[in-house]
Each structure stands twice: as C-alpha cells, then as structure tokens.
Symmetry: C2
C-alpha cells in the first residue's frame, strides 16, 4: 500500500449534519485516522436518520431493516471510526480529553456556545494538548450571527442567489447546498495549514471558518458590482451577450453549451453551422460587432441547434475547435467514465451488503502520484470502533470499558 | 508580526487566468512566498488585460494610464512577487530550475501537453528537486478531455446546471464561475496534504486536479438521483414543498428566505404572521400535513410577506425563532460588516493610488488564533521583483541579471 498524505495523523470528529462531516470525510480520504464521536443517548449523528436508506433490499425511503443505513451516513461516514461518547455525562469530557491528548486535529460544528457549556472549547482542549489544531465550522464565525445557519439562509445572505438568472429575475436558490459545502473546503485548507505550522512551531491553534464568510469570499472572487459599474453586466441568464456567441442552446434532444468569445472560436461556430461566410458578415466579423448584434447571432445559433441532435451539434462544434459540451443532468454527470476512472466520484456501498443500488458518492477529487487517497472502508455503524479506539488506542482495559458502558458514558 | 502558517515555504507560480491564480492567491494569503512567473514577451498573465481597470482616476472600462491595473490582476496578484521569464527562450528553463531548486511547491495550469513541450513537466522538475510538490490544475485532469475547459463548459458537464430551478426548467448557468473556483480549493488541499507528506517522507509528488472532477465531486455530495428515486425531488425552485414552510418569499421591498421544516419552526412562522392558531390547523399541524398542503401554506406566507417590509418580516420571523434572512445582492453581501470585520472580504487597492474606487475582493475566509493571514501587499507590476528574486533569492549578480535582461530571458 502506498503512502497516505495524512498517515499517522489523528482527527477527533465532533461534527454532525453536512458541513462538518464533509470536512472530516476529506481528511479521512487523505489518510487521517478520523474518530467520529457520537452521542449514544440520541442514536448518534442526526444524519443516521435522514431518508433515504440503503440496505439488503436496495434503496428505500423508509428504514425497513435494523441494518439499513442512511445514504447520508453511508456517504459521509466512509473511512471513519465510530465511537460513542456522552459528552454531557460527568465522565465524558475525561474520555474525550484522553482522545484529544493523542490527536493532531479536532473538528467541531456545534451551535454557538455549546462547546463552552460542555467544557470542551478551544482553551479547555489546548490545556490537554497544546499542539492540537482545533477547527470550528459555524454559520457566522465565533461571534454568532443574525440567524440559525442553514444552507438556504447562508446562500441568501452570501449574494450567490443574485448571480444566476438575468438582471431583474427572482433570486435563484441552488439545489446543490453550496452554503454547506464551501465552508468545509476552507476548513480543510485551514486545518492543513495549521498542521504545517504546528509541525514547525510545536503549537496548535484555533481555526475558525464561517459558512457565510466562506461562501461570500467565493462570491467576492468576482467583483460583480465593479463590473456592473462599467457596463459589464454579469447576470445575463443562459446567454452572455458581451462574449457572444456564448451560452446555452437547446438542441432537438437537450441543451448544449458553447463558448465563442474570440474571432477564431466564432469562425468555428459558423463553420460548424455550415455557414462559414458569416465570419465575414459585417454584423459578426469582429468581437465588437458580435456583441452589438448578439441577439441576432444567438437567434441564428438557436435555430441551428434546434434542428439537430445534441451530440451531433457538439461534435460539429468541437471538430471546428469551439469549446462546447452537453449540459448534463447530475445523474449523468456523476457517472462520467473519466470522472469515475479518476475516482472523483465513486459508487456507494453498504458495509454488509455492498452496492445494492446504483448510488453515486463524492470521492477525493485530487490525484496524487505518490500517495493513496480515497475511500476503501464503508461507513461504520454507531459505536462500531469503541473497542478499537478506547481499548487499543487509549489503552483502556476490559473492566474500564465495561464500567463506561454500564454508566452510559460510551 | 505573528507567525504565518506557510512561513518559509516558496511557491513557483506558473498559472494564468482564474483557477490557477486563485489557488496561489490562497497560498500567498496563508504566508507562502509566491513567485509569479510571467512571460515578458506577451505582457505577462492575460488577466493584466482584462477590463475593468483601477487607477489614479478610479474604475474604468478601458485603460487610461500606463499605471492603471486590471481589477483581475489587482485581486489575484496580491501578496505575490512578479518575475519575468521567457520559458521558450533556450536559457529560460535553467532559470526556472534555479527557482524550483529553492521551492517547496510549483503550481501550473497550462493546457495539456505544454509543460512537456517546454521541458518543465513533473519528471523534469522532480529531477531538479525531488521534494517538490508539483500541482497541476486542468480542465479534465492529466489525460485531457472532450473540450477546451472554460467555466461554462465545466458547469455544463458537471450536472450543477440541473440542480437549480425546478424540474423541467431550462438549465441554470451560475454567474459565479464555480467551474473555475472549486478546483483551486481542492488544489490547495492537495498541495498542503502533499507538503505534510513531503515533510514526513522527504519526497514530493505530482498533485493533479481536474476542474470537471472537482465540481462533479461537489455535485456528488448530494445523491440527487437516489433522492429522486424515492420521491425526494431536489430541483424544486425557490420553494421546497417537502420541507414546507421553506424557501424564498417576496416582501414589499425585496426577497427573504425562511426555513421552517420542524413543528417548532413552523409554529414560529405562524406566530410571526400573527396567526398562531394555524399551528393547530389540521392542514398544518404536523410535518406530513404541511408537506401535503405545501402549496396552500406557501401561498399564505407569500401573501403575508407581500404586505410587509422585508426587514420587518425577517425580524418577526427571527424573533419567533425561525431561521430567516434577507436575500442579498452580491454588492450588499460583500459589504456585510461582519464579513468585513473577519476579513473574509476586503477592499481592493491599487499599489500606488490605494482604493480609488469601492471595489471588493476575496480575502482568506479562515481565522487563525495564532497566525497572521490575508493580504497586506497589493498586486505587483510585471517583473517588479526580478532583482529581489533573481538577485537576492537566487544570488545572480548584476552582470548576470543584465545579460538575462539583454537576451530577453527575463
């Protein structure tokens, strides 16, 4: 087995729902030992109760067998170890401290104030392990914010809903929960950067990522209002007149995208259409002319596309050097053979029954030439690794394990 | 000055346009010394020629003065050093090799085949520095792909265009170039993970991130087709009937978002509306009932919202414990005082004239308790740091610098 980038690193995972578990999923995929700490009194991570479920009978809306597992947990729990631990029990924090003493990283996404009340906030854990990198993902950062953070709330506040569609359109909610998914990427970046620093200095620190800040910073990669101030309107729906020909067109059997902002690409579009002479048409011969006549140009392409099968239209465009592609539904995109070969998306498996339905799951979309990454262990059942973690890693003996179990601590 | 997470690390930056430069911008913001290598024959990174420009007279569509700089470069070039180097010149690769010998990381986003033709691909650079982490960002990964990678092409192929809007709607193009912006986040994660590994093993490696794979993997965080197979339709536009009351509503002066999927939140919505008795109405008393009557429920809320100022409606909802927020335009979102205070978004400055117009720019959306991150140096002009890098870092003497300049190598 090849090296793993984060081999030998241990992560204590105090996260639930989506944003936090996606961060620790990536750390697990990069080779860290991720110990997912779940509350035995509540049945663990709430994601274990999300519909739908995968089990011996395939995919179902409801849980039919005790060993059916939620798709959410099967996806986000891969390559993690599950231990139970009641952090509200008087003895719970001592067990957590034993874990933290052997860990490099802790990741949590509790609501504001909870870690302080439990006695497990950064100052408390730093006292146990000064080299610990303690990463928090929250809606608005440590200071709290105006609302309970849910993906749609974060999307609304971030401005991203005003970047799709056309000027004056209603706001556009993304079905992909980008408010939940961008923050964990920055949390992993911050965690790894702090690990690099801790390796150098011997000191850990608190890494604090806000879902609103993460998504808003991505929106601020494009200065939309500066563009608008000089007439470069960005919210132009499926077509972009200032780059014409550019945008989405409907073929006989589906949509395609093409990008022809240069003279060369535009000439390729005209050749693909069987009308190479249009490249010399005064309406379309220069970029300024094409922008001025974008409506007429896009209408011509739309009429051409409407009469063709999409695959044929894309092939003609591509053969003429024009960036073009089918607009795919998610179900088709996640089964792209290239994406599957690179394990950027993989098949989802139940720990006992395997892939009893064709469900796709995110991989680690990074290829390393000298390291093994990705997911080779299905999600654990609740507390599956109590003996391994508490026994082997922490060295608790059988009597102590039994006592903890009896007292309801684990 | 506090520690920087990546202090002492040197990055050779061979990127242009958006995806690559955003990756190295984040590395610079985390404290790495990023040496941006630009071609002196072409005027450097093409982003230097992107409208609009910022200069002594503020923001303009066209370049009015020699020292006007593009907003793109001002944003993406911060905290980087700029050197000129013609990699097609016979002596160019030797100079690059001197840089690589002193570097920890190289990042490139050339089109497929270019690094091989230039003699600067991973095997060549590994021969110079075996500990080098060599990170490539490309449209489809090392193997190439079906089309020239542009943001809209990547969005189309990734499936993300089929996640916004409603079932049966046309595909929705995101104005935010997520096809360009997600890959660099994974590239930074991969780079830092490989640095951790190289510190442990002494060996670097090639890190290969595909724009398509990165965005598709994010789409695959939600198994849309599995949800659809059991009746949990995800593409439901601005409202989500299966979580009702949930979605976007238009108030008298703008849109708001609210999320009320639980009994408690739904009761909060009814109280905010001044109709607490609706919580006992058989149509709305349970989650199943609310889902079954989602249309009627959302119509009631829409009518209530339409008669109110948005801020008042959000305040009423929030006071009643309901997650709710304004839907903000990007221009407003990037000026949120909390986001500015956390430096997740910052003001953009010209190196000589400062902030001559109110332009917002992405920050580092990660707060470190024991490190200094972010951008304290405006973008450089082309070749600004030739003496510093070639002279001080590589130790070239004045004669050699003059000869390289005269020969057009730098």
């Amino acid at each position: 087995m090849a090296e793993q980038p984060l081999a030998g690193r241990t992560v204590v995972d105090l996260t639930t729902a989506l944003a936090g578990p996606y961060a620790t999923l990536l750390l697990a995929g990069l080779g860290a030992r991720v110990v997912k700490v779940e509350n035995p009194r509540t049945g663990g991570d709430s994601s274990r109760g999300n519909a739908p479920y995968l089990g011996r009978d395939g995919l179902r809306l409801g849980r039919a067998h005790d060993d059916d597992m939620s798709v959410s947990m099967l996806l986000r729990g891969r390559n993690k170890l599950s231990v139970t631990l009641d952090l509200k029990h008087p003895d719970g924090v001592a067990v957590l401290s034993d874990l933290v003493a052997r860990a490099d990283v802790l990741v949590e996404n509790y609501s504001a104030g909870v870690t302080g009340r439990l006695g497990i906030d950064y100052p408390a854990m730093r006292a146990v392990n000064p080299k610990l990198v303690y990463t928090s993902i929250s809606g608005f950062g440590g200071q709290g914010g105006p609302a309970k953070a849910m993906d749609t709330i974060i999307q609304a506040l971030s401005g991203i809903m005003g970047t799709a569609g056309s000027e004056g359109d209603d706001p556009v909610r993304n079905g992909l929960p980008v408010g939940d998914l961008v923050a964990p990427l920055f949390a992993v970046i911050g965690t790894l950067a702090a690990v690099v620093q801790a390796d150098r200095t011997g000191a850990g620190q608190h890494v604090d990522v806000s879902m609103l800040g993460a998504l808003t910073s991505l929106v601020a990669c494009e200065p939309f209002d500066a563009y608008a101030a000089v007439g470069l309107v960005q919210r132009t729906g499926s077509l972009v007149p200032r780059l014409a020909p550019f945008g989405l067109f409907e073929a006989a059997d589906g949509w395609l995208a093409l990008c022809g902002p240069t003279d060369r690409f535009a000439a390729g579009v005209f050749s693909a259409m069987g009308e190479p002479a249009l490249a010399a048409d005064p309406r379309f011969a220069t970029r300024d002319a094409r922008v001025a006549n974008a409506g007429a140009l896009h209408d011509l392409i739309a009429a051409w596309a409407a009469g063709r099968r999409r695959a044929d239209a894309v092939a003609l465009l591509t053969d003429n050097g024009v960036p073009a592609a089918q607009v795919r539904e998610p179900a088709e995109a996640v089964r792209d053979p290239l994406v599957r070969a690179r394990e950027e998306v993989v098949a989802l498996e139940h720990p006992r029954y395997g892939a009893t339905a064709d469900v796709s799951a995110t991989g680690v979309p990074i290829r390393f030439s000298a390291a093994q990454v990705g997911f080779d262990r299905p999600a654990p059942v609740l507390g599956e690794h109590n003996d391994r973690v508490y026994g082997e890693l922490l060295g608790y003996d059988a009597d102590r394990l039994a006592a903890l179990r009896e007292a309801g601590v684990i």
